[in-house]
Symmetry: C2
Amino acid sequence: MASEEVKQSLKLFIVLSRANKAINECTNQFFQDNGLNPTEFAVLELLYHKGRQPLQKIGSKILLASGSITYVIDKLEKRGYLVRVSCPSDRRITYAEITDEGAKFMDELFPKHEQQLHELTNALSSEEKDQAIKLLKKLGLSIKDLSY
Amino acid sequence: MASEEVKQSLKLFIVLSRANKAINECTNQFFQDNGLNPTEFAVLELLYHKGRQPLQKIGSKILLASGSITYVIDKLEKRGYLVRVSCPSDRRITYAEITDEGAKFMDELFPKHEQQLHELTNALSSEEKDQAIKLLKKLGLSIKDLSY
DNA sequence: TATTGTTATACTCTATAACTATA
DNA sequence: TATAGTTATAGAGTATAACAATA
């Protein structure tokens, strides 16, 4: 019966939303305890793992308008976590680059973030996590594909 | 090796976040196309399925401070989707109750919402959805338990 | 002309605190 | 005293549009 399958999809949406919300409440609290909001953490994490990035690119990755990026980068620069570096070959472009201080901060923060996630997800066995990863990856990718 | 299991947990977090984000972008767009934000939809959906609720209770379910609830309820009342009804036995209490117009609106909206979710999740078979529901439920509940 | 980033501005949502009225 | 809801206010985060510099 079609209606039951629709209900099943709704159920999937609900449990997905709830699990995500429950985890986010914990991680966001962790970010906040460390003086960051989720957007700021996302920017720092990007620079920490992927190296310096043009502001434009940061905006497109994090889905933020250019004016908003300026605001976020300003805040992180004022705190000394990153610096603006101009691109010599195209003087329209400005990179954001994590500072030593910012990297040191993330050296501390990121493992704690990982550890928190590990503890938050320890109700699932390693096999169950693999299962969940496989299913969620398939789901997430298929939806992304629909957007184009 | 412990570090690999930590990476696995991080991976789970990432795919969970991405799947959730991908779905939410679609559902939020759908809400917006219908003049609602996610909070407003959540309130209407609650009243539509659970009947009238004291404002206080709506706030605790949706995790919103009392002043913010007043703001949201005001907006929905102005649009004619709900009315305030005072409680005769305890005159401090005000219920929010969906109107005929609000119910009619949701009679249209909710099946479309379900249908959208069904289409968004159709990359997974019914068996895979059951698997995912089981795993996400287990995960979500275990995190909720940790909060107490 | 198109693109990058900044500035100025406004808006939405939420929180907080002081308040009123009931219990 | 405690609770329900309102009012007034403030703040964070984001978007938009106009702009300057550069390509």
